[in-house]
Point group: C2
Chain length 350, copies 2
């Protein structure tokens, strides 16, 4: 299919404003450059090798993926420095990881001994070297471990034949983590273990980068497109949000209320203050409910209500989960479609 302008597209379709995306890529790289920190884009937000290539061309040092299957897609596309900041567990998955490590530099993160041992066994079985960082638990209270356990894990990694200790990882790398990070670095130094890398991450942690001089790199995904979550948290304005879901009105039988053809299958189910997306043309409209293929919108606070067949554009609550729902993203300048990307790493759960 060829599309000349956005008016040719069926809806729902995901548009990426290329001017905004390019500015977002340049801005993040320049923030990292100014601090002497490497930037490592997390591809979860776009899942598209051609966009990651633009990020590397702008100066990024490598990529981060969240799944082995995603890393495989990007390795196939020629990326050779891939971080997977995740505890990779299970015989099949660690085997695939080890195979991948024979054709790209692969760095994973771990927070427990069983995870280290599982990956070490797989690496040894195929004769690969896997780089391994230890994750420090952050205020996010997700994965990660304590300074004392981090030292023990580093020693275990150093003792394993096919693993290479690659430093420390934090997510999110808010400034509040600094005392714990410094304590960990001191423990490692006292044990004579050099720490080559301290990898931070998270959109919200961008503003804290300068307060953590120990960081050697930042992993961020969302900045490439931004979204309503980012705006709500104060990370960016709507004027930087590059992703918009083009939707159509399919029913308008109630005054001040319409139904869109975009529901949880195209804009997902996450909310901000009970709303499922921000309609660019109607800031006072509220998407108050979604079914899979229907979005319910209250226009009662708007001067006008659109009619059946009209199109409008939704800035999603969370851009990464929207990418994962679509087979293509459409790169646009104004109304002109400049590029159609297949979402190559879409929906890869393994």
């Amino acid at each position: 299919m060829t599309f000349a302008t956005v008016q040719d597209l069926e809806t729902p379709s995901v548009l990426i404003d290329l001017d905004l995306m390019e500015a977002n890529i340049a801005e993040m790289q320049s923030k990292c450059d100014a601090l002497g920190i490497a930037f490592r884009p997390h591809i979860k937000t776009h899942k598209i090798p051609a966009i990651a290539r633009r990020q590397l061309d702008a100066g990024a040092t490598g990529i981060a993926c969240q799944k082995v299957s995603e890393a495989e897609v990007f390795a196939d596309a020629g990326f050779d420095d891939i971080q997977i900041p995740y505890n990779i567990v299970g015989a099949r998955k660690t085997r695939r990881l080890a195979e991948l490590a024979k054709r790209a530099k692969v760095t994973v993160t771990v927070d427990s001994q069983p995870v280290i041992d599982g990956i070490a066994a797989a690496a040894q079985a195929v004769g690969a070297t896997i780089y391994m960082m230890v994750e420090l638990v952050s205020l996010g209270q997700r994965t990660g471990t304590t300074p004392e356990a981090a030292l023990a894990h580093a020693q275990r990694i150093l003792a394993a034949e096919n693993l290479s200790f690659a430093g420390l990882m934090i997510y999110p790398s808010d400034a509040a983590i600094r005392p714990r990070l410094q304590q960990t670095l001191a423990l490692l130094e006292a044990a004579g273990i050099p720490v080559e890398q301290v990898s931070g991450g998270g959109s919200g942690a961008i503003s804290d980068m300068r307060l953590l001089p120990e960081l050697t790199e930042m992993r961020v995904g969302t900045n490439v497109f931004w979204d309503w979550n980012s705006v709500s948290a104060g990370y960016a304005g709507f004027d930087k949000c590059a992703m918009r879901v083009r939707a159509s009105v399919v029913s308008a039988n109630e005054p001040g209320r319409v139904i869109l053809d975009s529901g949880s299958k195209s804009i997902q189910s996450e909310t901000i203050e009970g709303q499922f997306g921000y309609i660019a043309e109607y800031p006072a409209a509220r998407i108050y409910k979604v079914n899979e293929e229907h979005g319910y919108v209250d226009f009662s606070a708007c001067a006008a209500t659109p009619a059946v067949g009209d199109s409008l554009h939704i800035i999603p609550v969370h851009t990464c989960v929207v990418t994962n729902l679509h087979n293509q993203l459409f790169g646009v300048r104004g109304d002109r479609i400049e590029v159609v990307w297949d979402v190559a790493a879409r929906g890869l759960v393994w």
Copy 2:
């Protein structure tokens, strides 16, 4: 890839208990048979032609899809009676619909004049006949129209060259709709318009079928697998829930709390009382948060907490949106994998 047992699978993987699915299919068909109502399974729940074929083999009359693109997949798989209970809007989509109607019997629903006219024009352009039902607005307050407008729409459909009036559609078809339905039928009868079909739908409306003797068919999707939503609403027990997401523990560094490898990318973001899924082995556990690749589980109310590498099984909040996130579903009996289905109509938003 060949898999002998669920232990061979990577996680997250979606298991379908075949015994339960078969019982669910038989039960729904027999409920409809007992009332003399046709059953038309909505394929949105499984998106898999082979499962729809089992439903037809059990006695179903045809299928319902929600998108033209889904209908195309099922037409390619040999299904020749397809209903799309949706207002189909836009030149490209109506053109594809009309092309589809040349190779299968296609019935759509409408709730406004612009939608009727758009489809009529497309049907005429390619010389296809499209069957068209008028949707009555229900208590769900989504799409649909009034009795008076339904009459006007029926007349407009009858006057169009390439459209065939196929009756009335209701979603959800709760018993409370009956006065409005009867009023509409009386208006149509007074105008000399025969109503061949009254199509009801919705899991919750199954219990009301006997209270709406005007119904000629029921469209339901979720009953094939059921889910936590269904249990919560009292439509089924957990013992009928055929879908389970097999997940692994990837981190367990906090007492009474673990992190799973299943987050919004595999179990989605919908919740029941703030929980993102029901863990079959640990009824007292609470999945209290998800990121894309992480599920946060509180096991503090459980007698034991699983360890890194352990597997468990999640009954999802909403089965349809989970299917849409996965490339394969695995049909199992006990631990043995009997069939691997590709989710052929996955993620089709057009």
